[in-house]
């Protein structure tokens, strides 16, 4: 991994000043069923944090707590505290719209809106009123598409529907769409699971580049992916956080047997 990552995480713990988001005793209930048990996890600024674990382990649930996407599910209830820059995002006084503008999300399946490529990217800046003129908007769209490494592929057909792109292009479009709002944190829920290996490689490369400007939390099914893109990794199992720490260490010398078994493919 890059030097920046190793530099930032000399020790397994993150320096207090480098904490972007912090979850304290986070539990999630779906109706009567508890899906997440007292998770304590910090997310370091300008780094990639990977959440791994077998399916149904709660990693996606935790991710969706970070920008309160779980609010859209009626029966879902969250307890504990999650902070963004020290402010509890579950405080009733917090405006979830503002929160999501700062903590963006990219989903498992590419979900471009049935609009043109341009409109897809411009949607966020428009609703948040980030620009005053068409020229500024054009600029944001272009820079977002560039950052998402898809500009060259789509610059000649900005006004064609986004749904006409290939799967990998669609996903990078969705990343561009998230970037366009200039969030501080980008949450990615298995962003490559619906993509072929070549598209996956492109998106992974992109994630690594984005790390300079954004804090990224990524849920992934693939251990290799976690190892390739992340600086820190958290392992979930049955709704509990089993282990978390610097990625390199986790993959070479895990603390728990469970993690070791999972990483070596004994289960999962």
């Amino acid at each position: 991994m890059t030097e920046a990552a190793t530099e930032m995480a000399v020790d397994t713990a993150i320096k207090e000043s480098a904490i972007k988001m912090r979850g304290t005793d986070v539990s999630v209930f779906y109706g009567e069923k508890q899906a997440l048990f007292d998770v304590n996890l910090d997310v370091a600024r300008n780094s990639v944090t990977a959440l791994i674990g077998p399916s149904g382990c709660g990693k996606s649930t935790f991710l969706r707590c970070l920008n309160r996407m779980n609010d859209t599910i009626d029966i879902c209830r969250v307890t504990g505290e999650i902070t963004l820059e020290g402010e509890n995002i579950y405080d009733p006084k917090i405006d979830v719209v503002e929160l999501r503008a700062r903590v963006g999300m990219v989903f498992q399946k590419p979900n471009p809106f049935p609009k043109s490529i341009y409109e897809n990217v411009a949607y966020g800046p428009r609703i948040h009123g980030l620009t005053n003129s068409r020229a500024e908007l054009d600029e944001i769209v272009e820079s977002s598409l560039r950052k998402a490494a898809i500009w060259e592929e789509v610059k000649d057909r900005l006004h064609e529907p986004g749904t006409g792109l290939s799967g990998g292009q669609q996903q990078r479009l969705c990343i561009a769409r998230a970037i366009a709002v200039s969030p501080e944190v980008i949450l990615m829920d298995e962003p490559c699971s619906a993509l072929d290996p070549i598209a996956t490689a492109k998106v992974e490369e992109l994630i690594d580049e984005l790390r300079g400007n954004f804090t990224i939390v990524i849920v992934t099914h693939s251990m290799q992916q976690a190892a390739r893109v992340s600086q820190r990794t958290a392992m979930f199992h049955l709704g509990k956080l089993v282990e978390e720490g610097v990625t390199d260490k986790m993959f070479t010398n895990p603390e728990t047997k469970l993690t070791q078994d999972y990483i070596t493919g004994r289960f999962g």
């Binding site: 920008n67 009626d74 999501r100 999300m105 989903f107 049935p114 609009k115 949607y123 966020g124």
Partner: protein
């Protein structure tokens, strides 16, 4: 023997055939000491099918064709001189049919024997009064030739019915005997009866096609005879609707079309925004408990018959609009008006549009919503800028279906819009629609060969073409839309 008696006899024969077929199959198998290829029930079933199905089909076809064939043969015998000036042959035939029917009733009443009837002469007996006694009212006295033709008509009809009954029974017995005779243990009775049933299933699916053919055929046929009497150019382009039952009518469709479109416009202007907002509210804002009650409730509401809304327009909405809005504002004094019919029709369409839009909004994938919420959009922004554009084709389809319903709606406009054909902009004036005029031209005592009556078919054809176009377009759009998310 009436057709229903024949049907019962044929069904009885089929039941007997079933029993006989079964027994014969079992017996032959026993005698020859072999196993039956098919269960004995299938042997019975195939015999019963062979008895009932061809015979009943013959009966149906005969019932359908007999009046037509007799009519064409008898009508040829009316000399040109017997047809009144300016009248039509079909008009005379109409009388002939009714007189023949009346004669039947007189004979059935038992007062007059067949022989007396043969002697009955129009210039001696007061046939008209006689017929009036059995409830057949005629517009004029019966001429000898017409009475003679009516008698011939009746005689042919009786003979034909007799031959029909014999033919049906012969077919039933003949096919039955043949099916019974060929029963062998090795006969593949199951395959035979299954093929038979499959043919019946296929035949049933043709009923839908036949219905459409019947609709198009009858509309076209009568419309053509209308356009032979009345110039098509006048019909489509004239702005006056003024039927006169003594001839010289002006039958321009434009005022009716205007009324139809105006009422539909008012209805849709009310129903589309409201219906859509309700669908949005239920799909995106309401809790699942409310939804679980609201959905079936809306479906039930969409099933309220339009006569209920018609009555509502007539006794409540019409007088209310007249007394509280139209009269104080000096806009009119009629309780039936475009506004009355339009508003009530709008209320009728709300559940229809809600129900369709709800399905369409729900079929927009959740991923779209997540994508928008994940960017920090509010619910209404997501609805307005992501869900509605995504659902637009489906909603347009629903809108077209609603428009087609509004144009074809009858009872609400009959009871709420009025009957005066005019081109006016004031929505508080009574106006009339295509459907109202179809009803008024085809009910009551009308001569079936005058342009004033036949115009209803031309109106019907126009209506059918309009709604068909809207329906096909709507179905096409909705289908395409469904495919998009499947």
């Amino acid at each position: 023997m009436t057709p229903s008696a024949i049907i019962l006899i044929v069904l009885g024969l089929a039941a007997i055939g079933y029993v006989l077929g079964r027994q014969r199959a079992l017996k032959t198998a026993q005698r020859e000491g072999v196993k039956l290829h098919s269960l004995s029930g299938y042997h019975g079933q195939s015999v019963a099918l062979f008895i009932a199905v061809p015979a009943l089909f013959l009966l149906a076809a005969w019932l359908f064709l007999q009046p037509v064939l007799i009519e064409s043969s008898v009508s040829g015998r009316i000399p040109q001189s017997a047809i009144p000036e300016g009248g039509a042959r079909s008009l005379v035939m109409f009388d002939v049919r009714r007189i023949a029917e009346g004669l039947n009733q007189i004979v059935a009443g038992g007062d007059v024997s067949e022989n007396d009837l043969a002697d009955m002469r129009a210039d001696v007996t007061d046939v008209r009064a006689r017929l009036a006694e059995v409830g057949v009212a005629l517009g004029s006295d019966v001429s000898p030739i017409v009475l003679q033709t009516a008698k011939e008509y009746r005689a042919t009809d009786l003979t034909a019915s007799f031959v029909r009954n014999i033919a049906v029974l012969v077919v039933a017995l003949g096919f039955g005997a043949w099916a019974l005779a060929r029963i062998r243990p090795g006969l593949r009775a199951r395959n035979i009866s299954e093929t038979f049933i499959k043919a019946l299933l296929m035949g049933s699916s043709l009923v839908a096609i036949l219905t459409t053919v019947g609709i198009v055929g009858s509309l076209l046929f009568e419309s053509i005879s209308f356009f032979n009497m009345y110039p098509a150019k006048e019909f489509f382009l004239s702005t006056t609707w003024n039927p006169q039952f003594r001839g010289g009518s002006e039958l321009g469709i434009l005022p009716l079309l205007w009324g139809t479109l105006y009422v539909s416009f008012v209805a849709l202007a009310l129903a589309v925004p409201l219906g859509l907002m309700i669908a949005i509210y239920l799909a995106e804002y309401a809790g699942s408990r409310l939804r679980s009650y609201a959905k079936p409730a809306i479906e039930v509401l969409a099933g309220i018959p339009t006569i209920v809304y018609g009555l509502f327009a007539l006794i409540t909405v019409g007088p209310f609009l007249r007394d509280w809005i139209a009269q104080p504002l000096g806009l009119g004094s009629s309780s039936s008006s475009v506004m009355t019919a339009g508003l009530v029709m709008g209320i009728m369409l709300i559940p229809f549009i809600s129900s369709l839009s709800d399905d369409i909004i729900n079929s927009v994938p959740q991923a779209m919503r997540d994508g928008s919420y994940g960017l920090g959009a509010t619910k209404s922004e997501t609805i307005k800028q992501v869900i509605l554009p995504a659902a637009l084709p489906g909603i347009v389809g629903a809108f077209l279906l609603a428009a087609s319903r509004a144009i074809g709606e009858t009872m609400i406009v009959v009871m709420g819009a009025g009957a005066s054909a005019q081109l006016d902009l004031n929505p508080f004036e009574a106006m009339t629609t295509i459907t109202v005029k179809i009803v008024s031209q085809l009910t009551g005592d009308t001569e079936f060969a005058s342009p004033e009556t036949l115009v209803a078919f031309a109106l019907g054809l126009t209506l059918f073409v309009f709604t068909l176009g809207l329906n096909i377009l709507a179905l096409y759009i909705v289908r395409k839309y469904r495919e998009q998310y499947e």
